[in-house]
Amino acid sequence: MPALECRGLKKELPSGAHTLAILAGIDLAIEAGEFVAILGPSGSGKTTLLGLLAGLDRPSAGEVWLEGRRIDALSEDALARLRRGRVGFVFQSFQLLGNLTALENVLLPLELVGVAGARARSVELLGEVGLGDRLDHYPAQLSGGEQQRVALARAFASEPSVLFADEPTGNLDAETGARVLLLLDALRARRQVTLVLVTHDPEVAARADRRVHLRAGKIERIEFGRETARA
C-alpha cells in the first residue's frame, strides 16, 4: 500500500465563461519513506498539486489516498484531525507564528496531539537543528535560515509519517538553502519520513528518490534514482 496516492486528480477553476484546468488528471503513488521532488516551470501547478495531496485544498475530480484512507472528501474537522501528528509541512515563507517563541512554535503541534514530554522533545529537536541556544527568541529575532530551521523542527516534532515542503529554500540564499536542505534530508532519512518536496531548483531535486516533472498541469516525465553525482 503506497503512503500517498492520487488517481485522476484534477483542479479546475472557473475563468469567465469556460473553466481553466490547472491540474488535468494526475496519477501518482508514493511509497512510505520515499523522497519525491515535484519540478516544473512557474505556473505549472506544483503548489496546487501539493495542496491537494496534503488535503489543504479540494480537488475538482479524482481521489487522494493517504495511508490507505481516502481524504479528498473529508470534512474540515476530519482533515484537521488527520493533519495533527500524521502530516508535517515546511513552506517557502517559513510560516512561523510571530507571537510565539521558537520553542513554543515547535511545541504547538505536540500540545495539539497531547504527548508526554513535549517540552523535552522540542528542546531536543531545536538542538538537533542547531538552535539549542535560541529557544526563547521570537521569529522576528531570527534570520531567515534560522526561522526555516525552526520550521523544520516544528514539522518533525509530532513525528509525522508524511512531510510536505513547498520550495523550502526559495527564500534563502544558496549557501543557507543548501544547509537547510541537508538538514531536512538528514532528519527525514533518520526517521523514515515520506517527503514530497516542490522545487524548481534541479540541484535540490537531485537528492530525491524520484523526480516528477509537471508542465501545464500534467506529468511530463518521471526520473528515478538519486543524482548523487550532481549534489
Binding site: L56, E76, L79, Q95, R154
Partner: protein
C-alpha cells in the same frame, strides 16, 4: 487537555495586545461603568432604606386615615401589650409670620409625646421635641425660618392660633428635598394643633398613629398583617417600617428600570466598538490562523481560542468599568443631595460589579461573534497561496451569531428592566435605530465613492476618499457616534421643550391660585380681600364629599362586583367630591341629556368617562350619602370636560341648591399676576387663616425643576453613549495607524508640513463625525417630533438648526479625537516609517 491547550493558545495570542486591550477596555468600561453606577445607586438606595427604615419612619408601624381612626382600631391598639403609640396629625396649611405678615404653605405635623421612637430630629437649640415643644410652641424647618425671616422666639400664626417658634429643625430623618414636598415642615403638639381649629368641613387632615413595638412582637410587617386581619381597619391604611419611603423606593425602581436601559445603550455601543476592533484584529491574524489550521487545529478550536481571548479582554475591560461604577453611589449624595431622603447613607455595592462584568462580557462576546465567525472561513491552503479563496460561510454559524447578538441585547435589557415587554421594545428600538443608522452610513459611503473628487481641494478630496474607503471601521464609528448623538439630542429637545411649556404656559383663562377649605361663613370676607387686592376671574363653588351607596337600584358594593375593573372599583368605593351650580364653565360640553331639566327629581350631571366607569347611564337613579344622610338623585345629563384647562371641574355636579343644607366647604380659584401672588396670599391668610392657598405657578416650577433634574441624569448617561462613539472613532483611527504612518511618511516626503498633515486628518475625522452627528440629530428631531405630536399631543417646533449644530459639535469632537489617536503617526520621521 484540549481546554488547557486552547487557554494557553489564547493566552499567547494576548501578547502584544496592549493597544487592543486599551480600546476594549475603553469601549466596555464606559458602558459597564454606567450600568453598574445606575444599578448600584438604585440598589444602595433600597438597601439603605431597608437598613435604616425604622429611623426613616421614626417608628415600627404607621397607621393612617383621612378621618379619625375607628374606635375598634384604637381599642385594639390600646390592648396591645408593651407597644407604645404616638398620635400624629398631618395637614397642609398656611403659616404666617405675624411680625412681617408674610405667609407660606407648610406641611404641619402635630405629634404626641415620644416622637420619634427611632432616629432623631436635629434641633437648634439642641434637644428633643418633647423637651422643646409645649402647646403654645412650634418647631419649624430652617428653610421656613429663612424664608419668613423668623428666629427662635418669634411668633408664627397657624390657623386661628399663634405660636412661639421654640426651635429650628435642622434635620428630619426621611424628609424629602423641599422640591418633592408641598412646603417646609412645622412640628406642633396635638393640643397646639387643636387650638389652630383647622378641622373644618372638607379639610384634608391625615389622622395617624406611629407605633413602637416590643422585640417580642416579631417582624413589624407580620405584626401589621395580623392586626389588619384581626381588626376592622375602616379607611385606615397600615404600613410597617419595611415599607417606608414608598415614593423613594418606587423612584429607585423606576430609575433602575429606565436609566438602566439608557446605561445599557452605551454598553451596546461599546459592543459595536468591540465588533469593529475584533474585525480589524482578525483581519491581521488571517496568516496565523492559516498556519494553525495547517498544524491541525479545527475551525471550531480556532474560534474558541479567539473567543477566549475576546472573553479575557472583555472581562478585564468591564471589570475595570464596573469597579469604578460601583463607587458611584458613594459620590451621588455628595453632588445631588436633594435626590435622597434626609439621613440616608448609601453603602458600597460590590455585588453590582458582577452585573457589570456579566453584561459587559455577554455584550462583548455576542457582538464580536459575527466578526469571529470569519475565522471559520480561513482556508488552510492559504499558507501556500495568499489569495486563496475563503471557505464557504457556514449558514448555521452566521445565523447563530446573529441570533446570539439579538438574544444578548434582549437578555441584557431584561436583566436591566426586569420586564419582558420593556426588554422586547428596547431590543426592537435599538435594532431599528442601529439598522437605520447603518443604512444611512452605508448610503453615505456609496455617495462618497460616487462623488467626483478631482476638482475639490486636496484635503477635502482626501477626507471624502477616507469616508469612501471600504471597511476601515467607518460604518461602526458612524453608527456609534450617530446613536450617541441621537440619544443626547432627543433628550435635550424633549426636556427643553417640555420645561419651557411647563413654566411659560399657564393656559389662558386658567387660574393661577386655588383656595381650599374656605368655610361658607368666610365667603364675604374672602371676596372682599380678593377684590381689594385686584384678583381677577374669581370663581367660588361649594364642595361637599359624599359616598356612592346605590346605583341603578344596586348597592355600590354589588355594582363594584359587576363593574369592579380598575378605575371602576376605585370610583365606586372612594369618597366623592362634588359641587352644585346653575351653569357649567365653558370647558364643559354637554354630550347627552339636558341640564336641570327634570323638576320631579334632584338631578346630577356626570362626566361621561366617569359615568361609564361606575356603570351609570342617562336616567340612572343614584344615591349619595352625606355624613350618614342618604340623598337620591337621577342622572339627567352627561358632560365632556377639558381637564387641561386648569379650571375647577368635577366628575359629579348636582343641581343648584340641592345640597346647601349639607356640610360643605368652598373651593375658589382666581387669576393673579405673578408679582402680586405673595401679597394676595399674605392678605388672605391674615383674614382667613384656615384657608390653604395653592400656587399653580410654583407647582409647575417644581415639576419643571424635577423634570430638568431627572433629565440631567439621563443626559449625563446619554453623554456616555457619545463618549463610547468617540472612543470607537479613536480606536478605528489608531487601528489604521500603520497605514497612517506610511501615509504621513509619504506626504512628508512629498513636502507637506506636519500642520498640513494634521489638517488633512482633522478634516477626514471631522467629515466622519459631522456625518454621524447629522444623521443622529435628524433621527433625534424625528423622534422628538413624534413624541410631541403623538404622545404629548401638542404642537412641536423642533428648531431647524438642531441637526447642523449637532453635526458641527460632533465634527469638532471627532476631529479632536481622531487627531489624538493619530498623534503618534504624526510624529514619526519619514525615514523611519519607510524603513519598516
Amino acid at each position: 487537555m484540549r481546554f488547557a491547550l486552547l487557554f494557553r493558545a489564547a493566552q499567547r495570542e494576548s501578547r502584544g495586545a496592549r493597544g487592543r486591550l486599551a480600546f476594549f477596555t475603553a469601549c466596555l468600561a464606559l458602558g459597564s461603568f454606567a450600568v453598574v453606577g445606575v444599578s448600584g445607586l438604585a440598589r444602595s438606595v433600597r438597601a439603605a432604606i431597608a437598613a435604616q427604615s425604622k429611623e426613616l419612619l421614626g417608628g415600627d408601624v404607621w397607621i393612617r386615615a383621612r378621618e379619625p381612626l375607628a374606635d375598634e382600631l384604637v381599642a385594639a391598639l390600646d390592648a396591645e401589650p408593651d407597644s407604645e403609640r404616638c398620635e400624629v396629625r398631618l395637614v397642609q396649611t398656611m403659616a404666617r409670620a405675624t411680625a412681617s405678615g408674610q405667609s407660606r404653605l407648610v406641611e404641619l405635623k402635630a405629634v404626641g409625646a415620644g416622637f420619634p421612637y427611632h432616629g432623631a430630629l436635629v434641633l437648634e437649640p439642641p434637644g428633643t421635641l418633647d423637651a422643646r415643644l409645649d402647646d403654645g410652641a412650634v418647631a419649624v424647618a430652617s428653610e421656613l425660618a429663612a424664608g419668613l425671616g423668623l428666629c427662635v422666639g418669634d411668633e408664627l400664626a397657624l390657623g386661628v392660633a399663634r405660636f412661639r417658634v421654640a426651635a429650628l429643625v435642622l434635620d428630619e430623618p426621611g424628609r424629602l428635598d423641599p422640591t418633592f414636598t408641598s412646603g417646609p415642615r412645622v412640628f406642633s403638639t396635638l393640643a397646639g394643633f387643636h387650638s389652630m381649629q383647622l378641622e373644618g368641613v372638607g379639610s384634608r387632615i391625615t389622622y395617624g398613629a406611629l407605633l413602637a413595638l416590643p422585640p417580642s412582637a416579631g417582624p413589624a410587617a407580620e405584626w401589621a398583617d395580623t392586626l389588619s386581619e384581626r381588626v376592622p381597619m375602616g379607611e385606615a391604611r397600615i404600613d410597617s417600617h419595611e415599607e417606608a419611603q414608598p415614593q423613594v423606593q418606587r423612584a429607585a425602581r423606576q430609575v433602575e428600570r429606565y436609566l438602566g436601559l439608557v446605561a445599557l445603550l452605551s454598553l451596546i455601543l461599546g459592543g459595536v466598538g468591540v465588533a469593529e476592533i475584533v474585525r480589524a484584529w482578525i483581519g491581521t491574524r488571517v496568516a496565523s490562523i492559516g498556519v494553525l489550521r495547517v498544524l491541525g487545529f479545527t475551525p471550531r478550536e480556532v474560534l474558541w481560542m479567539y473567543a477566549g481571548h475576546v472573553l479575557a479582554l472583555a472581562t478585564v475591560g468591564s471589570a475595570l468599568g464596573s469597579l469604578l461604577g460601583s463607587f458611584l453611589p458613594l459620590c451621588v449624595p455628595r453632588f445631588l443631595p436633594e435626590l435622597l431622603p434626609r439621613g440616608l447613607t448609601l453603602g458600597w455595592q460590590p455585588l453590582s460589579i458582577l452585573r457589570g462584568i456579566g453584561l459587559g462580557t455577554l455584550v462583548a462576546v455576542a457582538f464580536s461573534l459575527p466578526a469571529l465567525a470569519a475565522v471559520w472561513r480561513v482556508p488552510p491552503v492559504r499558507v501556500l497561496r495568499h489569495e486563496a479563496e475563503p471557505l464557504p460561510a457556514k449558514r448555521a454559524l452566521t445565523l447563530a451569531a446573529l441570533g446570539a447578538l439579538i438574544g444578548s441585547v434582549f437578555v441584557a435589557a431584561w436583566v436591566q428592566s426586569e420586564e419582558l415587554g420593556l426588554a422586547a421594545g428596547f431590543t426592537g428600538l435599538v435594532a431599528a435605530l442601529l439598522g437605520v443608522l447603518a443604512l444611512g452610513a452605508r448610503g453615505l459611503t456609496r455617495l462618497a465613492r460616487w462623488l467626483p473628487r478631482e476638482r475639490l481641494p486636496a484635503s477635502l478630496a482626501h477626507g471624502i476618499a477616507a469616508l469612501a474607503r471600504p471597511g476601515a471601521g467607518v460604518l461602526g464609528a458612524v453608527v456609534a457616534l450617530g446613536l450617541g448623538t441621537l440619544v443626547v439630542v432627543t433628550l435635550l429637545l424633549v426636556e427643553t421643550r417640555l420645561s419651557a411649556r411647563l413654566t411659560s404656559a399657564l393656559p389662558p383663562g386658567g387660574a393661577s391660585l386655588f383656595f381650599l377649605d374656605l368655610q361658607p361663613d368666610q365667603r364675604a370676607e374672602f371676596e372682599r380681600v380678593l377684590a381689594a387686592e385686584g384678583a381677577q376671574d374669581v370663581r367660588i363653588v361649594p364642595l361637599a364629599s359624599g359616598r356612592l351607596t346605590r346605583i341603578n337600584g344596586l348597592s355600590a358594593e354589588a355594582q363594584a362586583l359587576v363593574h369592579g375593573e380598575g378605575r371602576g372599583r376605585w370610583a365606586l368605593t372612594r369618597e366623592q367630591r362634588l359641587t352644585w351650580q346653575q351653569e357649567l364653565g365653558p370647558d364643559n360640553h354637554l354630550v347627552a341629556g339636558e341640564l336641570w331639566s327634570d323638576p320631579q327629581h334632584l338631578e346630577l350631571s356626570l362626566e361621561q368617562d366617569y359615568a361609564e366607569d361606575i356603570g351609570a347611564l342617562l336616567g340612572s337613579p343614584l344615591t349619595l350619602e352625606f355624613s350618614g344622610l342618604p340623598i337620591e338623585f337621577v342622572v339627567t345629563s352627561l358632560r365632556q370636560v377639558e381637564w387641561e384647562s386648569f379650571g375647577i371641574n368635577f366628575f359629579i355636579v348636582a343641581e343648584p341648591g340641592a345640597l346647601d343644607a349639607a356640610p360643605h366647604s368652598l373651593l375658589a380659584a382666581a387669576n393673579v399676576a405673578p408679582e402680586r401672588e405673595q401679597r394676595v396670599q399674605d392678605a388672605l391668610v391674615a383674614a382667613c387663616p384656615n384657608v390653604t392657598v395653592i400656587r399653580v405657578r410654583s407647582i409647575l416650577e417644581k415639576v419643571s425643576y424635577v423634570l430638568s433634574r431627572s433629565a440631567l441624569a439621563v443626559e449625563l448617561l446619554g453623554a456616555f453613549t457619545v463618549a463610547v462613539g468617540l472612543v470607537l472613532l479613536a480606536g478605528v483611527a489608531s487601528l489604521g495607524a500603520l497605514r497612517r504612518v506610511r501615509e504621513v511618511a509619504l506626504w512628508k516626503v512629498l513636502g507637506v508640513t506636519r500642520g498640513g498633515v494634521a489638517r488633512l486628518f482633522a478634516l477626514e475625522f471631522a467629515l466622519l463625525g459631522g456625518v454621524a452627528g447629522l444623521l443622529g440629530a435628524l433621527g433625534a428631531s424625528a423622534l422628538a417630533w413624534a413624541f410631541f405630536e403623538h404622545v404629548l399631543e401638542f404642537d412641536s417646533d423642533v428648531p431647524w438648526w438642531t441637526a447642523p449644530l449637532a453635526g458641527l459639535v460632533a465634527a469638532t469632537l471627532a476631529a479632536l479625537c481622531g487627531l489624538a489617536a493619530c498623534a503618534h503617526a504624526l510624529h514619526t520621521r519619514p525615514i523611519e516609517s519607510l524603513r519598516s
